[in-house]
Amino acid sequence: MRTAETGARRRNKMERLERVGRLARGKFVAAKDVPAVLKRIIEPGDILCLEGDNQKQADFLANALASLDKKDLRDIHLVMSCITLPAHIELFKKGMIRQVDFCYAGPQGTAVADLVKARKFPVGAIHTYNELFGRFYVDLTPRVALVAATQADRKGNLYLEANTEDTPAVIEPTAFSDGIVFAQVNKIVDRLPRIDIPADQVDFVVEAPYPMHLQALFTRDPAAITEVQVLMAMVALRGIYEKYEVQSLNHGVGFNTAAIELLLPTYGERLGLKGKICKHWVVNPLPTMIPAIESGWVESVFAFGGEVGMERYTAARSDVFFTGRDGGFHSNRPMGQLAGLYGIDMFIGASLQIDINGNSSTVSTSRITGFGGAPNMGCQPTGRRHPTKAWLKAGAEANPGPGSSPGRKLVVQMVETFQAGRVPTFVEELDAAEPSIRKALHGVTPVMIYGDDVTHIVTEEGIANLAACRSVAERQAAIRAVAGYTPVGLKRNKRQTAELRARGIVQLPEDVGVRPSEASRSLLATQDIKGLVRWSKGLYDPPAQFVDW
């Protein structure tokens, strides 16, 4: 027994807390003392988790960190799901970071690409969400976690309101390994509406001088949905939702899927699909789902995070959304990702690039964005055993071998063949496969969703059923067939396309009963944000930048 070493980690925590001394009154730190406290609780070599989620940001603590000098903060192994703020970038510019492990850097994608070029961004790996949360319990356990909550009470209990997001996943491994948890809160109150994190797991609390930053990520203005997107949505509804009777699903955040949500109460209703599809959702509270919810399509929605402006609406629709005893909305990213991995019939989302083998990515040399929630949901979990109609039907089409699962999750990529400015979506090789990117990522190409996991690609040209393809060559031909007039599409062979179409592997809009001339924005349940507010009976409070009334 090496008893001498037992408790070293705990002793080290005590030393750190002692160094803080009178800078804290119990757990409470004054805003002005935060930089000094951070200096005392963080040591060189630490694994530091700075909470930057998809939406909420511990921005006050991030700014305080970024205000320190390299002599006070160095050799840090940073772990965080999302690199979102300029302050995050500042830590790299100052050379404080030894290694970073993260998931997503969308808003700072360009800055991250610049840092990579300047060799100031030492990446361990770009993770999927659950992969990183899992590693918090394995080899990336934070010594110090800087987190964000809405409120704290006098004991240090935390209330996370709508945006629970990653917070429990960050705090638990830290708190149960003698790490230090430091929370910024918008307000310290006597009594919390509900307790989301017990005070036991919290070491320090600061009332930040400004409310934490929330990224409004999932508000899609129906006014910006194009008629081409409506066409694709109609094709997807008929060719996939209706065909497989998709009951449970996740939607990406793009305008393509927003169009589908807004077609349910109109086009979907006309097709007689209400009650047959789209009942259970694992998705953020998307404002564009309001008409479908109000029309009685949706039985349940579980979310990764909240969405600005949806607080009153979700609270009022507690039969559909998960809400706490206080009546308020609840979310949880790791649990949502888990649900999306095992519990749903279908994942459908968009991508910037798809290669000839069906691999997709949003990464290029000029923008390193990483992944959002797509890879966990857009993959085939072989750990699944429960059957559903959609799962079995898709599985049967894939012609499973004697050693494989009988079912398949529907993993659908829905893209226009060209992005804005005539940039082709379909390419022979992903930009992400660029040697400099692969080198920075230790030989790994940052693929969002692997072609082997994709069952269908939907474009304005039609649907390619990749799962039903019997060879790599056939899959490539199917992709070319729906790649339109991109260079990839122009290489298609007319006879081969006709043969795939005859076998139902390639379906044109008319093959699934959609006439392109029918595609019109007037099919959408509402054409603008104001309409969503009207649908919500005034319960939805859209962010100011979307309000024009």
Partner: protein, 107 residues
């Protein structure tokens, strides 16, 4: 601006009824206007005149127009396009709209 002209083999237009011309779409960012007129020569080809603000996509244009001429009897029509960067799908969609108006005479 890039301009090109080409005729694509196409079966002759079926009816002589309907309108002498039809126009679909507008010239705006990411959009285009398509004017289809009767009386193009010869009667077994769709004669196309393209003016586009984004050069370098001639191959896509020609393929999309050839496909249209192949799928629809549009021989003897003259197609003139003013484009401001529309994606090919809109080219096909607008062509189809203008063609329908021309053939059916609906406005």
């Amino acid at each position: 601006m890039e301009k090109f002209t080409k005729a694509f083999p196409s079966k002759p237009l079926k009816t002589t009824a309907g309108k002498p011309w039809a126009l679909a779409g507008v010239v705006g960012s990411g959009n285009l206007e398509v004017l289809v007129e009767r009386g193009g020569r010869p009667s077994d080809a769709m004669e196309c005149h393209i003016e586009t603000s984004i050069p370098g996509y001639k191959a896509s244009w020609l393929a999309a127009l050839a496909d249209f001429a192949h799928h629809y009897p549009a021989g003897g029509t003259k197609v003139t396009i003013n484009d401001q960067g529309a994606p090919p799908v809109l080219v096909t969609l607008r062509l189809r709209q203008a063609y329908d108006h021309l053939v059916k005479g609906s406005k």
